[in-house]
C-alpha cells in the first residue's frame, strides 16, 4: 500500500462516523465511504495538497452521501418511531403559552470547554429520530437548499419545515439537558 493509500485509510473511521450520522443506515454508510475511498485512490493527483487530506475526503464524501440518499429516497423518508411527534404540546399549554419558561443558557461553550461542547452537540444530533436527523444534517452539514432537499427526498417544502421544526426543538431539549448539567471534564 502506498503512503497515500495508508493515509487515506486512517481517515476511514471518521468518514464512517459522518456518513452514519447523516444516512442513519450502516449499509448505505459503508457504500458511501467505499465509493469515497475508491474515488480518492483512483485519482490521487486531484488532491492538490492545498487543503488537508481530511477536508478533501469529506468534500468527496458529501457527494457520495447525496448519491446514497438519492438511491434510497423512498426508505430514507419513512417516518419511524418518534419522527412524527411534535414537542409543541409538551412545551406550550392550550392558550399557546410556555408551560415552563425557557432558561438563560449562558455560554455553555466556555463552561464546558470546546471539545465537550461539540461532543454533546454531536451526540444530540445523533439522537434525533432518523428522518429528522437526515433532513437536519442535509441542511446543516451538506448545506443543501430547501428545494434541493425536497427534490432529493421527494417531499414537500411543508413536510420539510415540519421535520426541521421538530428536529430543532428536540435538539434544543437535548442540549439544554446536557449542556447545562454536564460537569466539566477533568
Amino acid at each position: 500500500m502506498s503512503d497515500f493509500a495508508r493515509e487515506v485509510e486512517t481517515l476511514r473511521p471518521q468518514l464512517m462516523r459522518f456518513a452514519r450520522s447523516q444516512l442513519r443506515n450502516d449499509a448505505w454508510a459503508e457504500d458511501a465511504v467505499s465509493d469515497t475511498l475508491l474515488a480518492a485512490l483512483e485519482r490521487p493527483q486531484s488532491f492538490s495538497g492545498q487543503s488537508q487530506l481530511k477536508t478533501w475526503l469529506v468534500g468527496i464524501l458529501k457527494h457520495k452521501v447525496v448519491d446514497q440518499l438519492r438511491r434510497h429516497t423512498r426508505e430514507a423518508t419513512v417516518l419511524v418511531g418518534d419522527d412524527g411527534e411534535d414537542l409543541d404540546d409538551a412545551l406550550f399549554d392550550e392558550s399557546g403559552h410556555w408551560r415552563d419558561m425557557p432558561r438563560e443558557w449562558g455560554n455553555p461553550e466556555a463552561t464546558l470547554g470546546q471539545r465537550q461542547f461539540f461532543e454533546v452537540l454531536e451526540m444530540c444530533v445523533d439522537l434525533l429520530p432518523p428522518v429528522q436527523g437526515r433532513v437536519f444534517l442535509m441542511r446543516e452539514w451538506l448545506e443543501l437548499e430547501t428545494d434541493e432537499i425536497c427534490k432529493e427526498l421527494s417531499i414537500t417544502a411543508t413536510n420539510l419545515w415540519v421535520l426541521l421544526h421538530r428536529a430543532r426543538l428536540r435538539l434544543r431539549e437535548c442540549l439544554q439537558s446536557r449542556w447545562l448539567t454536564t460537569p466539566r471534564a477533568a
Binding site: 471518521q14 481530511k54 406550550f92 399557546g96 471539545r115 461539540f118 430543532r168
Partner: protein
C-alpha cells in the same frame, strides 16, 4: 398574512422557520413586538442563536479539524 398578535407557540414556530428561510418584514415586526413583552420568547431566541453559532462552528470543526476525537 401574519396576525398582529402571536402566541408564544406561534412565535417559536416562526423563529425556527427563520432558520430555514428568510422571514418577511411583517413577520419580523410582529416578532419584535412580541419580544418586547415576552421574556420567555426572548430567551428562546437567544437559545436559537447559541445553537446557530454552535452548529456553524461544529460544522467547520468536523469538516476540516485535525482533531481526531471521533476516530
Amino acid at each position: 398574512m401574519t396576525a398582529f398578535r402571536l402566541t408564544c407557540r406561534e412565535v417559536t414556530r416562526l423563529v425556527l422557520e427563520g432558520e430555514a428561510r428568510e422571514l418577511a418584514l411583517g413577520e419580523r415586526v410582529v416578532l419584535r413586538l412580541h419580544w418586547l413583552a415576552c421574556d420567555g420568547c426572548t430567551r428562546f431566541r437567544r437559545q436559537v442563536r447559541t445553537m446557530r453559532g454552535a452548529l456553524d462552528r461544529w460544522k467547520a470543526y468536523r469538516d476540516s479539524g485535525t482533531d481526531d476525537t471521533g476516530a
